[in-house]
């Protein structure tokens, strides 16, 4: 079965979920004849038609290949960790670790990665905090 058919099914389900959500919008008074429901329902209908179309007339797109999924999964995981670690660790430390890890995933050595990560993070910190006046978290692990 062509992968586009699965995508069509996915779009159809998405449209159904979105449309069901839109059915629940109830305005207390109607300022205009359409109200809050109509436009989302129109979108759900459009997406539903596109989904059906893809199921009935799938294109020739082959199933995508994920040649190296490990670095990407690790990268996405590190983005999530970064979001949680940014405030406690501070911008410079968190960014050094993040850039170092990504550089390592791209084939650089740990040393080079962390060193350039530190230089990059420190430079950005200087530019943002002192040049642009935008505060970035310093971290909570400093004594005092």
């Amino acid at each position: 079965m062509k992968p586009d058919r699965y995508l069509g099914l996915f779009l159809l389900l998405l449209a159904a979920g979105y449309g069901l959500g839109a059915l629940g919008f109830e305005a207390e008074y109607l300022a205009d004849p359409l109200g809050p429901r109509a436009f989302p329902l129109l979108l759900a209908g459009a997406l539903g038609v596109i989904g059906l179309w893809l199921m009935l007339f799938p294109g020739a797109d082959p199933a995508p290949r994920f040649p190296a999924w490990r670095p990407q999964v690790l990268a996405v995981g590190s983005f999530v960790v970064y979001a949680y670690a940014l405030v406690p660790l501070g911008f410079i430390l968190a960014t050094t670790l993040e850039v170092g890890l990504l550089a390592r995933l791209l084939g650089a050595g740990w040393g080079r990665g962390f060193f350039s990560g530190f230089a990059f993070a420190a430079l950005l910190y200087l530019i943002f905090v002192f040049g642009l006046g935008i505060p970035l978290p310093l971290g909570r692990w400093w004594p005092g």
Binding site: L11, G21, D32, Q72, F79, A103, L106, L124
Partner: protein, 496 residues
């Protein structure tokens, strides 16, 4: 008021030291962003918006900077096309065809100089076109009512969808994703919360900037991570960047034709720099390539697409400014940026915020001149920047995205949301959904709904109003034609 005196006022805005400095910064960063494979104009503009926002720049200054990055990137894209045979961005793909062969023959400097001149001529002619056509189009569009606007937006989505990807159905789905995302938040008409899942943070709607950076920059990082084995770029020496007058004059016709083609293709919604350069190249190949030298390093094959992609960048500003309906991903991001600064482009902008439009137009004349200077003697510096290793460049894009998104609201939740959108964008790319329609949908969604509801309020709920005026009817027909266009082309092109 006539165009000329307006333009003089524009120059008064553009020539203040701040705006001159920002135009130069935009030109420099744009060339850099265009030159580096992996960051195109969309990513560059999106990543720079939070900085412009945090600096509390006035809207015209922010736009001067961001637009400089946009058209500057079209200059920069050619550098790696010529030196490395790797296009720096989508508009420079065609430039590799004759640019790299020229470099292999030892004429890299000549190719760079000629393409810089071609870019300058294309860019400048497009700004002249913008100056002349934009006010006319705005004057005409002032008569648009909500029904015409709704039809116009549908037309923008259908043309972008039929041109943006291999499969128009997927491109349309991408537009709907964006429109759906735009409905998140309090309903503008009744104040009912929609798709907020009880999150107070979502009552104002999703942050356009976070979506733009996640969708383009983060997904790009994930795509680039796939090819971890690629080695580092080899350095190519550029001795002189001069082109003989004879070669220049021989290419002048191609440059001028490429500029005109590029400008008009740029004005069309959906067709941007990449299509413009391809059309210009094929036109020249048919018209002037008598010896079959195109593809072997013919200077005209470098000049025409470069003139066209720069002209297209200028042309794409016309519908964005005058109608408030952008035709490409990058202009959609620019429009979103303007909305963050509380400026709504559209026909009224020429009366309400002349300093923004005319300041921008004037700065584009200056910016093109700056880009020519940057790209002729200083091209060696940009060539050297191409040797930045991938293992540093890609993490740096991620780091810049993080810091930009965090700086807007100081919120770690935004980083998670950006990551989620980035993964979504990555999957869209993998499954053949183009990204530009989604960002266009997000930017236009509110406007589209408001205009639809206004139209139906005028008619008292009669849907016929959408098709009642001649302008609206023409737009609906055009929308239908553009939807059928790929199918018609496929139908008639196959038998050959």
């Amino acid at each position: 008021m006539d165009v000329f005196s307006q333009l003089v006022h524009g120059f008064e805005v553009a020539l203040t030291p701040l705006n001159l400095g920002l135009a130069l910064a935009g030109a420099f960063l744009g060339t850099l962003i265009g030159a580096l494979p992996g960051i195109g104009p969309v990513n560059g503009v999106a990543i720079l918006i939070p900085i412009a926002y945090a600096l509390k720049l006035p809207p015209e200054s922010a736009l001067i900077l961001l637009a400089g990055v946009y058209y500057g990137a079209e200059y920069g894209g050619r550098i790696s096309s010529i030196l490395l045979n790797v296009p720096g961005d989508a508009g420079a793909v065609i430039t590799t065809l004759d640019g790299y062969p020229m470099a292999q023959k030892g004429k890299a400097g000549e190719a760079l100089a000629l393409s810089a001149l071609a870019s300058f001529i294309g860019g400048t002619l497009a700004v002249i076109g913008l100056t002349l056509f934009a006010p006319l189009l705005a004057e005409w569009a002032i008569r648009f009512g909500p029904a015409e606007y709704f039809a116009l937006m549908v037309f923008a989505f259908t043309t972008l969808s039929s041109l943006a990807g291999r499969n128009p159905a997927k491109a349309l789905a991408s537009s709907v994703f964006g429109l759906m995302l735009a409905t998140v938040g309090l309903d503008p008409g009744s104040g009912v919360p929609r798709f907020t899942f009880g999150q107070l943070k979502l009552y104002d709607g999703v942050d356009f900037l976070i979506v733009a950076i996640g969708l383009f920059a983060i997904s790009e990082v994930l795509v680039l991570m796939e090819k971890s084995h690629l080695g580092e770029a080899t350095r190519m020496r550029v001795e002189t960047t001069l082109v003989s007058l004879k070669t220049f004059l021989a290419s002048l016709g191609s440059i001028l034709r490429g500029s005109v083609i590029g400008f008009f293709i740029g004005v069309l919604p959906g067709a941007g720099a990449s299509i413009a350069s391809a059309v210009a190249y094929t036109t020249e190949k048919r018209l002037v390539d008598r010896e079959g030298s195109f593809g072997q390093g013919d200077p005209r094959g470098v000049a025409a697409p470069e003139a066209a992609n720069n002209a297209a960048a200028g042309g794409a500003m016309v519908p964005m400014l005058t109608l408030g309906v952008p035709g490409s991903g990058t202009t959609a991001v620019l429009l979103g940026a303007l909305m963050m600064f509380n400026v709504t482009p559209g026909p009224l902008i020429f009366q309400e915020r002349p300093e923004v439009v005319w300041g921008l137009i004037a700065s584009m004349y200056i910016g093109n001149l700056m880009l020519l200077v940057l790209n002729l003697p200083l091209v060696g510096i940009f060539a050297r920047i191409l040797t930045i290793p991938r293992w540093f460049l890609i993490p740096a894009i991620a780091g810049l995205s993080f810091v930009g998104v965090y700086a807007v609201n100081n919120s770690a939740f935004d980083l998670l949301f950006m990551t989620g959108i980035g993964v979504w964008g990555y999957l869209m790319r993998k499954f053949g959904f183009p990204l530009a329609p989604m960002i266009l949908g997000l930017v236009l969604g509110r406007l589209m709904e408001v205009n639809l509801r206004r139209a139906l309020a005028i008619s008292g709920g009669d849907w016929g109003i959408l098709f009642s005026s001649p302008i609206a009817q023409v737009l609906w027909v055009l929308a239908l034609v553009s939807l059928l266009f790929p199918w018609l082309v496929g139908r008639f092109a196959k038998p050959r």
